[in-house]
Amino acid sequence: MQWWVLTGRTLRAMIRRYELVIAVIAPLIFTVGFYLPLKFVMQLQGIDYAQFLMPIIVLQAMAFTSISAAQMSAREKITGFSSRMQTMPVYGPVPLLSRMSSGFVRSVVSLTAALVYGHAIGFRFTEGIGQAALFCGLALVFSTCLSLGADAIGSLSKSPQATSQALTLPQLILGMLSCGFVPETGFPEWIRPFVRNQPVSQFSFAMRDLAHGGVTSHTMFPVVMWSLGLLVVCAPLAYWASTRRA
């Protein structure tokens, strides 16, 4: 019940702040911004770029929503909302849970938008409904892991602006230095081991196969491990950061 009230509150704030509009526009900019200029360049390497690109667009959109999650928790901390909740008979993790569930709604909106744009440029699910659902599931797992971590950082930080600036940096680096935008062979030799093994690349491999070609346990294994690892680190951290008394 408390959870429901708080979730409704953050969702309304999200609409008022046009955050949902941004969640819809951000993947659009990335889709057209990378697809139209690079389609030709990638065609020369024999890559169907719509099929290749969409996983990373989805993952970037998810990372964006997690940055908003950090801003939200930072704002609640600074305005004293979090302390206020702690003085009231509100069950400890409820504010965190409500932030997560409203963030989840935003992620679903952003994911849906990204898939619509993907369809428009020719991205298709060819492996049936089960694998398509798993594609969406993976995106949301990714988003939830990052949001938990981002929420913790936001709760511990002093200003929403500084938080989003600090988080843009890892997003840019991990997002760009991945096999999401260009294949591994496009990178200089020295950086390939990092590019190949980092989580964003592993997620993009699995999601690419889920959409087209069929996934194998060999591809899924690192993704599951990364998700579990992120969850094991981020969930307790977010719980601790949000229930801690300042």
């Binding site: 900019i29 057209v32 911004g33 200029p37 030709f40 360049v41 760009m176 230095l177 935008f181 950086i191």
Partner: protein, 286 residues
């Protein structure tokens, strides 16, 4: 201050003499050209000092552009160079310089809004300073900032293989052209930031710039874009400036793209200068 001094002051006050302000010895007529010059420099210096002390400006104007340059080079460089047969760095360096200038202007326009709401602009407006010094000083500061960004980005570009193949004159031209472009853009953003309190115009410009970052001839050459999009790509202001700078570094036509860049920049100034003056005046005197 001793008690005798105090009583002396009291006596002087009683005799009708007020506090002892120093006699002004550097007063300039408010609307003289010399006042414009001096006061603008003071304003420019004020802005530059506050930017230099604010880490988020440094991040936005220097660190992010430099990082983006490295990212574009490492991630897309080889693919683009292989597909087009031309080193991509000669497009990426000009592009990132322009992007740095544009996002720097946007950050400074947000700062302008803060100065308006905090009442600082109104405070300046009450001083016997030249009326244009606020705006002119801001543009001087923008020019200096763009020049610093340009030098830093070219420095990073050198690590990634960027070279001046066209001699020192072209190199100097390459340092100056972004300033012309940057001032044109800054006048536009200043006008948009002050013309309305309610519309999120600066945010819209910011989204537009993110989009333009992908749609210009510096990201990938014009011919790589879909055919229906090519005329737009080739004509937009960033592309012509990129082509001019490509000509000044790698080689290629220079005169025509430079003239087109001037046309865009001075065009923007011509269209937005009056709204910027009006908006600034309104922001300061409201």
């Amino acid at each position: 201050m001793t008690s005798t001094d105090k009583s002396l002051d009291q006596n002087e006050l009683r005799r009708g003499r007020t506090l002892n302000f120093p006699e002004p010895n550097a007063a300039l007529p408010e609307n003289s050209a010399k006042a414009l010059w001096t006061h603008s420099l003071i304003q420019a210096r004020r802005l530059l000092v506050s930017w230099a002390r604010d880490p988020s400006t440094a991040i936005q104007a220097l660190l992010y552009p430099a990082l983006t340059l490295i990212m574009f080079r490492v991630v897309l460089g080889n693919s683009i160079s292989a597909a087009t047969g031309q080193p991509s760095i000669y497009g990426t360096v000009p592009l990132i310089i322009l992007v740095g200038a544009m996002f720097g202007s946007i950050a400074s326009a947000v700062g302008l809004r803060t100065e308006k709401t905090s009442g600082l602009l109104s405070r300046f407006w009450t001083l016997p300073a030249h009326r244009a010094s606020g705006l002119v000083g801001r543009m001087i500061a923008e020019a200096v900032r763009v020049l610093v960004t340009t030098i830093v980005i070219i420095g990073v570009g050198f690590i990634a293989g960027f070279r001046f193949n066209q001699g020192p004159v072209a190199a100097i031209g390459m340092l100056l052209l972004p300033i012309v472009f940057g001032i044109g853009f800054a006048v536009m953003v200043t006008a948009l930031a002050t013309v309305s309190d309610n519309l999120p115009l600066v945010e819209i410009v910011s989204i537009g710039c993110t989009l333009l970052m992908f749609f210009n001839s510096g990201f990938v050459p014009t011919m790589a874009y879909p055919v229906w999009l090519q005329p737009v790509i080739a004509a937009q202001p960033m592309s012509v400036a990129v082509e001019a700078m490509r000509g000044m570094s790698l080689g290629g036509p220079v005169l025509v793209p430079v003239l087109k860049t001037f046309a865009w920049s001075f065009g923007m100034i011509a269209v937005f200068l009056y709204p910027a003056i009006k908006g600034y005046r309104r922001a300061a005197s409201d």
